[in-house]
Amino acid sequence: MIDKPNLEVEIAGIKLKNPVMTASGTFGYGEEFSPFIDLDKLGAMVLKGITLNPKMGNPPPRVIETPSGMLNAIGLQNVGVEALIKEKLSQLQKYHTPVIINISGDTIDEYIKIAKRLDEVSESKKIAGLEINISCPNVKKGGMLWGTNARSTYKVVNQIRKITKLPLIVKLSPNVTDIKEIAHSAEEAGADAISLINTLAGMAIDINSARPKLANIHGGLSGPAVKPVALWMVWQVYQTVKIPIIGIGGIMKAEDAIEFIIAGARAVQVGTANLVNPEAPIEVIEGIKEYLAEKQIDDINKLTGSLII
């Protein structure tokens, strides 16, 4: 009788007490959730995407609801890497959960500058790793460009790889013809892990005003609606790369997370669910425990890629 199955997983050299992380942009800078959950219970925290300089972001409305999903066009509003280090990371020092910084840049140079800076303070500020966002669909010049082309993906990842020893997680965009190709070049370029998916590009229109519902016209689709697309991409990438995969997309309950793990994910990220239920990540962790106990699986790692076809 297995009643305490092992939940520990290792991603890109980062040891996680369980495979459940929070997805960038849906968990703020962490502290926002401390009134609701014990942050020390999380597998890891991925913070709001950061850029070199502070970013204003897009005009409102920035979020609107769609069937079983939502569109967001935040436009990467963030405090910039320096304020992140000074204020936000300092707040998190008291916690024991690995902190992963999600970084975005308009140019390779910007990516490098951020990575360098975070690398410098990684010891003092306990930064566990970097998640490279080459896929944020809201920033015209940035993300999209890199993540939708295998060569540019290779280029940016490889450059960052050269200047930091920090574990690198490359976060892929689903808005591509062949996710396997992109994942492969990220691995080639030296990524330690791959996370997917970021949001699907989408749009909604208010037929009374004949205007887009988002001020930014289009935004990123997330939530349960995208789960089937995300699962299929995770399974495809699992066939392609050797490095661990972090599954993301519409995970609201433990059952969803388990689908991703069976499809090949070593860990998962909970995103939109945080906006609906701040306790979601904890509930997912508990649910996974119950599933393993019920199925008498002694180690979560055995579930990864266990899809029977």
């Binding site: 942009g25 709001k48 609906v276």
Partner: protein, 281 residues
């Protein structure tokens, strides 16, 4: 920062029971709902809101923000007053007395009534009166002299008039079609009251954006301190997603190109100084 962290720490996720429900206006349908929520009532201050999961499933997915309409700390009860405009409020209106609601709250900064203020002017347009009853009660408890101006399209849509009066406020109403009391916009009524010489120390308002904007001009001219309750589409409601922002002037940062920044309505607001809001959109 400290201030903000404090606010955040007070927010709770709880199940609250509906003990009262009444449809007070039809088409548009407006409901008054009473919630047994001692924890929230205990923490709540006028101008704050609660973030409600209206469905059990993904449809709708996100929570819906509703202002706290009345706070009864003794009884441990709060009230919400809401208009049915879409799927979420429709589902909420279908809930019955005895049902539980999954809510986050109280959220937001709330109105700031200055101790030194003697005269308070409260202006509500349409469903905008929702957060103002609690404010009125709070002001009167602090022995302020309170006047309330309610704006509505027509007589049938004037809500809560008596309740404001019962609290001890002087209430005047403006209807667009003149079917009740003053004929015209509530902002015209406000200008008239000021012209008549009743000068408040603070104006508080909630309602349609054009109304709020117009009042800002009036308050500026009369040089009266002015606080507004803003609305924006929301995601998390707890300051994490940056989905609910509004344009707020960045004071004293002359060097910067942009003269405004995006602040979160949910936790930096929903109450802002009228003078700091960028009204141009």
């Amino acid at each position: 920062m400290a201030n903000k962290r404090k606010k955040v720490r007070l927010v709770l996720k709880t199940k609250v029971k509906i003990f009262f429900k009444e449809k007070i206006v039809s088409d548009p349908d407006i409901y008054l709902m009473g919630l047994s929520a001692s924890l929230i009532a205990n923490e709540a201050k006028p101008g704050q809101f609660i973030h409600i999961k209206c469905s059990k499933d993904n449809y709708p997915l996100l929570r819906r923000p509703l202002s706290i309409h009345r706070i009864d700390k003794e009884k441990g009860e709060i009230y919400i007053l809401f208009q049915v405009v879409g799927e979420g409020t429709k589902l909420l209106a279908q809930k019955e007395v005895g049902d539980n609601l999954d809510v986050l709250g109280p959220i937001g900064n709330g109105f700031n009534i200055y101790p030194e203020s003697k005269k308070i002017m409260i202006v509500g347009g349409g469903i905008g009166v929702a957060p103002l009853l609690a404010l009125c009660e709070g002001s009167i408890r602090q022995e302020k002299e309170v006047r309330v101006l309610i704006g509505a399209l027509k007589k049938e849509l004037v809500i809560e008039e008596e309740n404001f009066r019962n609290l001890g406020a002087k209430v005047d109403v403006a209807t667009d079609d003149g079917s009740y009391q003053y004929k015209g916009l509530v902002t015209d009524l406000l200008e008239r009251v000021i012209k008549e010489g009743w000068l408040a120390d603070q104006i508080f308002a909630c309602g349609p954006k054009p109304m709020l904007k117009k009042i800002n001009e009036i308050a500026l001219k009369a040089n009266i301190d002015y606080q507004v309750s803003l609305e924006e589409r929301m995601g998390c409601g707890i300051g994490a997603c940056l989905g609910c922002v509004c344009k707020i002037k960045t004071k004293g940062k002359k060097e910067e190109k942009v003269k405004y920044e995006y602040k979160r309505v949910c936790v930096d607001g929903p109450i802002f100084e009228g003078s700091e809001v960028v009204w141009d959109d």
